[in-house]
């Protein structure tokens, strides 16, 4: 896909976590270390220095999800595909 195929800017994407499925296996944090840290119990946590401030409406679980920069989209898709609990989704916002 080339930029010529995108005359308008592509929609932004957000990573959304289904907390009822997530068991903190950590695959997503391993694949997206720039975006995700792990909390005290191993569950994915958006990095404070990342694009999604913790506790904002962009926090995972509700709302728009964790914004994924263009450069990380391939890794984000990989994380969605490899999550052993199928707890991740990429959503267009």
């Amino acid at each position: 896909m080339t930029h010529a195929a995108h005359p308008s800017p592509p929609p932004s994407e957000g990573l959304r976590i289904d907390w009822t499925r997530c068991t903190g296996r950590g695959v997503c944090a391993e694949l997206l270390p720039e975006l995700l840290d792990r909390d005290d119990w191993g569950y994915p946590l958006p990095r404070e220095d990342g694009v999604a401030p913790r506790g904002s409406s962009a926090a995972p679980g509700r709302g728009g999800g964790i914004p994924v920069p263009r450069a990380r989209r391939r890794d984000a898709r990989e994380a969605v595909r490899l999550c052993p609990r199928l707890a991740l989704r990429l959503e267009h916002s």
Partner: protein, 405 residues
């Protein structure tokens, strides 16, 4: 439970409630045919279960008859409307009342069940509902069964648990699944399901008969009408915008506003606060489902908060990791804080930040709101506890502990 005299200037819900079906029909007559969704939009009635969502929007969202006035038309709106039109929406009357300090829904279902059922029937007619279900707290479920059966409304007994009334948990119970909150990927209205608190429905029952102007004759311009409140003296009906001291009567001291997911107000704040979202916002609080909890005289607010947090940790559905792990950790820290352990408050702040926005439902966020408000309102008392004292009990405080800081 005590039912208090309403403070409202106009006769409202508690006045209109008739437990006997014939007396109810004789007094109120049949439900008139009106454009209910438009009337509710004019009335400005918001949900009385805690979230204060505009009721007309919720009904419009599940109504296959609505033509897009409820919000921007999107692909999902279209698909949802098509699906809802095919099967008809489902309306759920939520009388689960899981909030431990709330008694207003049970009071209403006991004293005025027909008013609730009128509202359900009027709403069902307005949206062309194919099914109505009443979820009732176990204390009152047998009392409402005959009245509901008379109108062909199914009744499901809740378990009285804290999360029972969370709307996706309520729907799961009705559908025969384990009653726990669901991930919000697909909103309930997209499935054609609207969950409405029983008090909200009783207001609908009156708006359907008396109209929007009557409803707006109480309350404020932005937050019209009345709401039921469970306070230190029992259940009462209060106009939105009423000063809190007027609602509380002689009671003084810190007040937990909005229930266990609510926020503490300091005694001085209580004196200038009103029962409205606009007034309470300044203190990080909201009327919620109308719970005003006042600790017993001499009771320590920090100990009270620690015990409530322990209760909330136990009430977790244990589905989401941050809630399952974080709430017990938070409760433990609060007990340590109340016991005077040093360096506890920063750790409470850190764990609180870990929980915000990280769950399928509002339970971690609501708990964090309570805890943060306690640290703010009882900040001076935290220092007293660190020195082995307590401002509320006056227990073994060194002389300087009560000095203004």
């Amino acid at each position: 439970m005590t039912v208090l005299d309403p403070t409202t200037r106009r006769a409202g819900l508690l006045d209109a409630a008739e437990p006997d079906p014939d007396a109810h029909r004789g007094r109120h007559g049949p439900l008139p045919e009106i454009d209910l969704v438009t009337e509710l939009q004019r009335a400005g009635l918001t949900g009385r279960g805690g979230a204060a969502f505009p009721v007309w929007r919720k009904l419009a969202a599940v109504s296959p008859r609505t033509t897009g006035s409820a919000g921007p038309s999107t692909r999902s709106t279209f698909a949802r409307r098509r699906a809802a039109a095919a099967t008809g929406p489902v309306l759920v009357a939520n009388g689960a009342e899981g909030e431990p300090r709330s008694a207003k829904d049970r009071t209403l279902l006991t004293h005025g069940p027909h008013l609730v059922l009128d509202g359900l029937e009027a709403a069902a007619r307005a949206v062309g509902a194919r099914r109505c279900v009443l979820l009732a707290h176990p204390d009152v479920v047998e009392r409402v069964r005959p009245a509901a059966a008379e109108r062909g409304i199914a009744v499901v007994a809740g378990d009285g648990g804290f999360l029972d009334g969370e709307e996706t948990a309520a729907v799961a119970r009705i559908e025969g699944r384990p009653p726990v909150p669901a991930d919000k990927t697909r909103r309930l209205v997209e499935r054609g399901i609207a969950v409405l608190n029983v008090e909200t429905l009783a207001h609908i029952g009156l708006v359907a008969r008396r109209g929007a102007d009557w409803f707006r004759s109480a309350g404020t311009a932005d937050e019209p009408g009345t709401m039921l409140v469970t306070g230190p003296g029992g259940v009462g009906e209060v106009e939105l915008g009423t000063p809190l001291p007027e609602v509380l009567g002689e009671v003084r001291g810190p007040v937990l506003v909005g229930g266990f997911h609510g926020a503490w107000l300091a005694p001085g704040e209580v004196l200038r606060a009103r029962l409205s979202r606009e007034s309470l916002r300044e203190f990080g609080a909201a009327p919620g489902a109308g719970v005003l909890h006042v600790p017993a005289p001499g009771r320590c607010g920090l100990v009270e908060t620690a015990e409530i947090t322990t209760f909330l940790a136990g009430a977790s559905a244990r589905q989401c990791g941050p809630c399952r792990n974080g709430l017990p950790a938070l409760a433990d820290l609060l007990h340590r804080l109340a016991a005077g352990h040093p360096h506890t408050a920063p750790e409470i702040a850190r764990i609180s930040a870990l929980l915000t926005g990280r769950g399928a439902c509002h339970h971690p966020d609501g708990t964090v709101r309570l805890v943060r408000s306690a640290l703010r309102v009882f900040a001076t008392d935290v220092d007293a506890h660190l020195r082995g004292g307590c401002l509320a009990t006056g227990q073994s405080s060194p002389p300087h502990a009560e000095a203004p800081r």
